[in-house]
Point group: C2
Chain length 286, copies 2
Amino acid sequence: VKGLVYLNGDLVPADRACVPLLDRGYLYGEGLFETMRAYGGRIFALHRHLARLLSSAAELDLAIGVGEDELAQALALTLEANGLADAYLRLTVSQQCDAPGVESRAPGRFTVSAIARPLPAPAADLAGISVATLGAATAPPAALARHKTLSFLAYVRARAGARAHGADEALLLNSAGEITEASTANVFFVTDERLVTPSLQCGLLPGITRAIVLELARLRSLDPVERAVRPSELQACSECFLTNSIVGLEPVTRIDGGAVGDGKPGRVWSALSEAYSRAIAAASGG
Amino acid sequence: VKGLVYLNGDLVPADRACVPLLDRGYLYGEGLFETMRAYGGRIFALHRHLARLLSSAAELDLAIGVGEDELAQALALTLEANGLADAYLRLTVSQQCDAPGVESRAPGRFTVSAIARPLPAPAADLAGISVATLGAATAPPAALARHKTLSFLAYVRARAGARAHGADEALLLNSAGEITEASTANVFFVTDERLVTPSLQCGLLPGITRAIVLELARLRSLDPVERAVRPSELQACSECFLTNSIVGLEPVTRIDGGAVGDGKPGRVWSALSEAYSRAIAAASGG
């Protein structure tokens, strides 16, 4: 990252920004983050992202000391300081401590940072990517998987495992052998002309884009289903796509080496992707 | 922590030591640590700790850029700079990056730190602690649980959960409902006069003190067993203790609110604890 990052109220050069060694985010992976996308200077679904972060913070006893307004302002400052309108944004919060120790905390001392980097406008027609379903029980326990925490190593390793298998992205499985999500995205597929995505009970992040896609699908009477999904079912689907806040809806054209449908991005993806772009345009006042 | 910490070759005041915001240890909990204990100026089982860290680094594709000698020197420097002979030590390693991104790395740029703090000499007769077995699937996936990584939140939350139940420490369960380990220790118990500890296949950290206690038990013909253990079996045991490098062997006298045996530290714990103290004294030249 070139440029400036936001760090506890200041804007500092990215290559000089640092967090305390005695930060529980570093020592124990205790902290939360959000990744968001700005289009034309506005952060899409900002309130949903901040609400998720604050809700997770409350559940995980992270008294991060700032509210939604301060976090929104930190992100706006970061965009402005870097002169960015279309950007990737990452917001990170964690608590500091005075000494190592699994229960050691320094009340009132937090680390809040925001990082922005330029991104090209979304491609009109994305080429499909390949995914690999990895071994059983690669997903974190369900109680943690629903928060976007700094203890992210399971997802990092899943992605590395997929790359080692020649795939672009991994699909993680829970201990019951059910698909949960990709390393940095949720997963949707079409089977028997129904749109399906793993249910939150399977142990996965309640993605913001996932929620929006479900809403857009319902508005179009696509009647999406949230339920448990096995790899064998996914491998036989007619369409598949991933969702996250940075890429939006990304078509998957190969699963475990086999082609999905006719090997090209499908019609359901195309229709929902267009609806998602319109939702972004509407939110950006476009 | 007062005093000085080691950070990438320098000794710096603890309250001013900082790591890059763009460190994968902070952004993604990707990194490793070891906690060790120094007795009389010597770090007990140092080689075993460093070998575990370097072995995990190789498995997790963490090219940390330093070897065992440099890490040992960092720890020795930290002890010396703080004038400590009996101390807690934490060594942490992670890799830096140039931008956020699950696959983003800055080759050749690492963060190596060592923190020391004074600890009293071990108590001759520890009072027992209480533990709580928590809900199913609180343990991370087995493939990650055997490494001591910076993605430590599952253990932090387990400890917090135990505290909320009025217990001192948590016992985590894997997805099969088997006991794996405590939040910062391994667990041993005695049942039908046999010493038992969960096997590594259950998904747990191969603790250094755990390994030493198993060796000491075999030397005394205690014939310890490593196997899967259910909470109901543990709740009916005659003795229980935890092991880690900081406390050594710590007796457990209450499990889920019920007394263990007669509610006092038991004979097997006492014998092995004494043997462990002798091993420390021998290693320290005492």
